[in-house]
Every structure is written in structure tokens, then in C-alpha cells.
């Protein structure tokens, strides 16, 4: 049902109803549910992951140990290594489940066309970059997401899959030895897991900035599904 457009009307007395706006149903329920559950799960995964990292904040040898960075405890979840592992090993199931349900829904409903960046979006990339970064004219809006948005969301989904794959390589480097092997062994899998996490954090920060810039209606649409007065 996503993509449904309605005219919002106002009835005054016995007059003909007048059109006061438009609404488009952009985000089906499953998408919104998965989005918010995943948001919370991601928050916990990053926070507890950083606490786990604090136990050995290095990617080199244990002897001698050269720390990469000291992440402050106040910005981590779990309090201690064992506690953080409990959070991480609990919320990873929510993170995975919402990811799987989301992707399955997108594929089977066909809703993926709204999000997935394909070769057809390539010609629209440069005009959008020019608009965002070089004060170029705003390209016409024809659908929910422009080419750069699709590119960003598609990347985020790929990062989500990679975060799970690298995570399993770290958690089960023997049972999933093929995964660990693809990443260069356990030692490198841990580095990849860390790198993918920061890439995901970078996406979230960019995502938040764009949500703030694009206004309230845009934000509300991820809660109610309906976007009022869309630009297209």
C-alpha cells in the first residue's frame, strides 16, 4: 500500500469539501516497526561493543600492547566486559531479526524499489551532489527518495549485513571458519567488525543531520507512515 496518495480535505458546513493538502503513505508498518526496533538494537550494539573493545583497545599484539584509543566508560553500555557481552549477545538477536524481517518484507512486497540504489539512479547522482554541496539547482523530486538517499540507505543495508557477518566471524571463528577466512582470519575479522561499526555510526550521523534539515513531516512519516504535503 506504500505510495498511496490521498487528498486531505476539509468540510465546512454544507459546502463542498476543500482540498487543504496531500498525504502519501511512504512507510509500511513492518518497515517502521523494524526501523525503530533496529534503531534501539543498533544503539545498544554500538554502546556495548565499545565497552567490549575497552577490555583490549588494540588491534595489535597483547605483548607489547599498544592501545588504539581510550573510549570513555560513560559512553559505553554494560559497565564491565561481562555485562557488555550480555547486552551484546542479547540485542544482536533483535538486531538480526529486525534486519531479516525488514529485508524479507522489502523483497516480497516489492517495496525495495523505493530504497534500492540501482544503475537507473546513476544519472541522478551528480545533479543531487551539485545541489547538496555546490549550490546547484534542486533537481525535480519524482519519488520518495532521491538518488543520493537511495545510495545512502542501500549502503546502510549492506553495512548492516556486513556488521552481522563480521560479528559472526568474531563470535564463532571456528564454526564459521569460512567467514573468518574471507576476512583474513579472526584477528582481521575483529578489525573489520570495528570498521563496519564506525561506518554505520557515520551513516547514522549523516542520516540524523538530513532528517533535521528535511523537516518535521519527513520525521513524522517514519512514525505514522504518512508524509504530509510531499514534494512530489
Amino acid at each position: 500500500m506504500s505510495g498511496v496518495v490521498v487528498e486531505i480535505t476539509r468540510q465546512k458546513g454544507k459546502d463542498e469539501p476543500i482540498v487543504v493538502g496531500r498525504g502519501v503513505y511512504e512507510h509500511p508498518f513492518i518497515v517502521r516497526l523494524c526501523h525503530w526496533l533496529n534503531t534501539i538494537a543498533l544503539f545498544v550494539m554500538v554502546g556495548s561493543g565499545l565497552q567490549i573493545f575497552r577490555a583490549f583497545p588494540s588491534f595489535g599484539a597483547k605483548i607489547p600492547q599498544k592501545d588504539l584509543l581510550h573510549w570513555p566508560k560513560q559512553f559505553a553500555i554494560g559497565g564491565w566486559l561481562g555485562g557488555a557481552l550480555q547486552w551484546h549477545l542479547t540485542f544482536m538477536w533483535i538486531y538480526i531479526a529486525t534486519g531479516v524481517v525488514y529485508i524479507a518484507y522489502q523483497i516480497f512486497s516489492g517495496n525495495y524499489r523505493q530504497v534500492l540504489f540501482t544503475h537507473r539512479d546513476i544519472p541522478d547522482v551528480w545533479p543531487m551532489v551539485r545541489h547538496y554541496f555546490f549550490f546547484g539547482p534542486k533537481p525535480p523530486t519524482r519519488e520518495a527518495y532521491n538518488a543520493l538517499q537511495k545510495q545512502a540507505y542501500t549502503t546502510a543495508i549492506v553495512l548492516g549485513i556486513l556488521s552481522v557477518a563480521t560479528g559472526f566471524a568474531v563470535w564463532k571463528p571456528i564454526q564459521f571458519s569460512w567467514l573468518a577466512w574471507m576476512m583474513g582470519g579472526f584477528h582481521y575479522a575483529r578489525i573489520w567488525h570495528f570498521a563496519v561499526m564506525w561506518a554505520m555510526v557515520a551513516f547514522v550521523l549523516g542520516h540524523l543531520v538530513m532528517v533535521i534539515l528535511h523537516g518535521w513531516n519527513n520525521f513524522v512519516s517514519m512514525l505514522t507512515g504518512w508524509k504530509k504535503d510531499p514534494e512530489y
Partner: protein
């Protein structure tokens, strides 16, 4: 659509998201511990199902082994609990046909296995070490362990304790280890006998073994596990 109906519809769609609030249970102090324990137990349950008894841990060339002096020491208490080697025996009890005290010579008389495997600490570091010893499965055969028993438990000279599922105990790379780098275990690394389990996380590899029990029930899990760490922690 009338604007009132539109607002109503929007509100209804918003309310459909209330299940998300259920995650707020994790923020309630009284519920948090129990929920996280359940999550950890579910992860352990999954991990036990992912374990393949015949799947081997990767082994490495001698050239890839971390030098002995760079093999880290993690003790929870003392580097050396002062085991007197002359008097040392491994006391075997529980669901076995031949309980009693076993000497190091009896264990060393079993086929010797040497393997270069990766040792991964829960903290995140890893090293490749060279280990030698007897297969735990061979020793379980020697003492006539009940094959239907579910667990092996060990006690250590430094009061550390651990437990192991039978499937992992029977794994062909699980060793009663008395050698590192082709030399007798040093005191800091757990002489005279320690567990070496390439398919498990570091803290399961108990040092300075004194007692081994074959059992159907666990009354305690392990030193770290009883403080909230994962029990199965298979790699």
C-alpha cells in the same frame, strides 16, 4: 480523505508502533538482569547447536606460531599456586568406572598430540600457540567415563574451576595439555596439567588441574561464568 480522518488514521498507525516500547523493559533495573541472562542463555543454546563435533579448529604452520615469550599470561589470582609436582595427581570422580588418583606418567602414556592452534581471549586478543598433550577423549576412555554423562568439571590448585559440555570434551583437539612449545608446561602456564580447547574461549582453558569429575548435573558453571560470562562460549 477528510483531515479529521487523516489525523485519526495517522494516530492509529503511530499506536501500532507501541510494541517498540516493550524494549523499555531492559531499562527497568528489576527486570534487566533477568532479561540479559535469558539473552545470554539463548546465545549459549544457539552456540551449542552451531558446534560441529567433527569440525576442526584451524591449525597453523610452525612459522605462524607466536613466540613463547609473547604468549600472554592471564591469571585471575596468582601466577603460581605452588603445586608440588612430586605429590601431584589428578583426582578423578563421578560417573566413571575407574575413579581415583592418576599420575602425570599415566596421562603421558596416552598418545601425544601436538597442535598449533589459535588461543582467543574474551578480552579480544589472540595468539597462535603450540600445545602438546593427551586427548581428553582418550583419558575419558582410560577412566571409563559414562558416555551418557553431559559434563566434565575440573578444579584447579588456585581454586579456579571450570565445566565443559561432553561434545567439546570428546572433540579430537581437546587436550589435557602438559606441553607448550614442545617443552613441559611452565608454572605460569598451568603446570603440570591444564586444559587446551581450541574450540573454546580462553577462560575455559583451566590451568593447574587437580580434580576432574564426570557428571550429569552441574552445581556450578565456572569461575567467570558464575559472574555472568557465557558458559558455552564455543568459537
Amino acid at each position: 480523505m477528510d483531515e479529521k480522518k487523516f489525523r485519526q488514521n495517522s494516530r492509529r498507525e503511530l499506536l501500532k508502533l507501541t510494541p517498540v516500547l516493550a524494549l523499555g523493559a531492559f531499562a527497568i533495573p528489576n527486570l534487566q538482569e533477568g532479561l540479559l541472562k535469558k539473552g545470554l542463555r539463548f546465545s549459549d543454546w544457539t552456540a551449542a547447536r552451531l558446534f560441529r563435533p567433527r569440525h576442526l579448529a584451524t591449525t597453523f604452520d610452525d612459522s605462524e606460531v607466536t613466540p613463547f615469550e609473547k604468549f600472554p599470561l592471564n591469571t585471575y589470582d596468582v601466577d603460581d599456586p605452588g603445586v608440588i609436582f612430586e605429590n601431584w595427581t589428578l583426582t578423578v570422580s563421578g560417573a566413571v568406572q575407574k575413579p581415583g588418583d592418576y599420575t602425570l606418567e599415566q596421562i603421558q602414556a596416552l598418545p601425544r598430540v601436538r597442535q598449533n592452534t589459535r588461543h582467543i581471549c574474551v578480552e579480544g586478543w589472540d595468539v597462535i600457540g603450540r600445545f602438546g598433550g593427551a586427548r581428553l577423549s582418550d583419558f575419558l576412555g582410560l577412566i571409563g567415563a559414562d558416555p551418557t554423562a553431559r559434563f566434565i568439571t575440573v578444579n584447579c590448585a588456585d581454586d579456579y574451576y571450570e565445566s565443559l559440555d561432553m561434545a567439546t570434551a570428546m572433540h579430537q583437539q581437546t587436550l589435557l595439555c602438559y606441553e607448550m612449545y614442545d617443552r613441559p608446561l611452565t608454572r605460569e602456564h598451568g603446570a603440570p596439567l591444564r586444559l587446551q580447547i581450541p574450540t573454546k574461549i580462553g577462560y575455559k582453558q583451566a590451568k593447574y588441574l587437580t580434580d576432574l569429575k564426570v557428571t550429569h548435573v552441574l552445581d556450578r558453571l565456572g569461575y567467570w561464568e558464575d559472574q555472568g560470562y557465557s558458559w558455552f562460549y564455543g568459537l
